[in-house]
């Protein structure tokens, strides 16, 4: 779990490792070091993911780790859905799943 403390401390109770970060630079560094270690899935709050989009793109096509944005305490920014949308656009050429909205 990566993100601001308030959004992620609950996950510690589930047995996930949490890495609270407060600014983008440490966020990027932590993300990189986590990706190099043995983590298969890294959940990252949407607020932080938005700042680190370039970093995330690097892990898009690597088989592991899976970097998954989830909403934090500050609410849903729609970033997660946007990532899915991006995949669809990449594969199909245009967005055919989400345009019913």
């Amino acid at each position: 779990m990566l993100g601001d403390r308030d959004s992620i401390y609950g996950f510690a109770a589930l047995g996930l490792d949490i890495f609270p970060v407060s600014d983008n630079e440490t966020g990027a560094r932590t993300l990189r070091s986590l990706a190099e270690r043995d983590y298969a899935v890294i959940y990252i709050t949407e607020a932080l993911a938005k700042e680190l989009e370039l970093e995330l793109d690097r892990y898009r096509e690597a088989p592991l780790p899976a970097v998954i944005p989830i909403p934090g305490v500050r609410g849903n920014t729609g970033m997660g859905i946007a990532m899915v949308k991006k995949s669809v656009e990449q594969a199909v050429g245009s967005d055919i799943i989400f345009n019913e909205k």
């Binding site: 047995g15 849903n76 594969a91």
Partner: protein, 218 residues
């Protein structure tokens, strides 16, 4: 590609024809691969979308619960309560091959045998809201993992589809027409050579006849 140099020889012609056969076969196969990948991708992406909506809702609800829990407890008490997690999750990741795309498969194990045995604090000094909050997170967690798996698969498949599509297009619109054009060029050139040889022979025959017997066929 008639502009580029091709040797108008029989050998080259055979080589090009073989290449064309391979290219056509490859094109067909890749096209099939693309269609099948696309079908599976669309299925996955729909699942992905549903899962994500579900998970986001769940997390939002859990966050609300946490907010309540925090409101009802002192910050220090809350931090202490969650300081030493009892539960640990370990992930095992396998790979599954879908149309030559390796998509991850995650299974998780918890350290304590009972999945619900995760409260790392006594119940006396913590608010019941905290229990609810943690429970709601725990409920959503398997779906979060599924989401991770699904979303990663989608990303990988999208990349593969893009690659395959490029290959199909390159074969269809560049390789195959070029080969056909070259083959046509060589065939015509060879035919032309043959005709010119024939004419030359006829001409020589006429000249020889005229020389030997004084015939004038012209």
């Amino acid at each position: 590609m008639a502009g580029t140099q091709v040797n108008p020889t029989r050998m080259e012609l055979t080589r090009l024809k073989k290449k064309l056969v391979t290219a056509t076969k490859g094109h067909k196969l890749l096209k099939d691969k693309r269609d099948e990948l696309m079908r599976q991708f669309l299925e996955k992406v729909r699942e992905n979308k549903a899962l994500r909506e579900h998970v986001e809702e769940g997390i939002q609800a859990a966050n609300k619960n946490f907010l309540l829990a925090r409101a009802g407890m002192q910050e220090e008490v809350l931090n202490t309560a969650l300081l030493a997690p009892k539960q640990r999750v370990s992930l095992e990741s396998g790979v599954e091959n879908v149309m030559s795309v390796e998509i991850p498969k995650f299974t998780f194990k918890t350290r304590t045998p009972d999945e619900n045995d995760m409260f790392s604090y006594g119940f006396a000094f913590t608010s019941s809201d905290l229990d609810d909050a943690i429970q709601s997170l725990a409920d959503i967690f398997p779906d979060m993992l599924k989401l991770a798996e699904c979303e990663k698969s989608c990303q990988l498949m999208a990349a593969e589809i893009e690659k395959t599509r490029r290959r199909v297009n390159a074969l269809e619109h560049v390789m195959i027409p070029n080969l056909q054009q070259n083959i046509k060029y060589i065939t015509m050139k060879l035919d032309e050579n043959e005709r010119s040889t024939q004419i030359r022979l006829m001409k020589v025959k006429d000249m020889m006849l005229a020389e030997a017997h004084g015939y004038d066929t012209l």
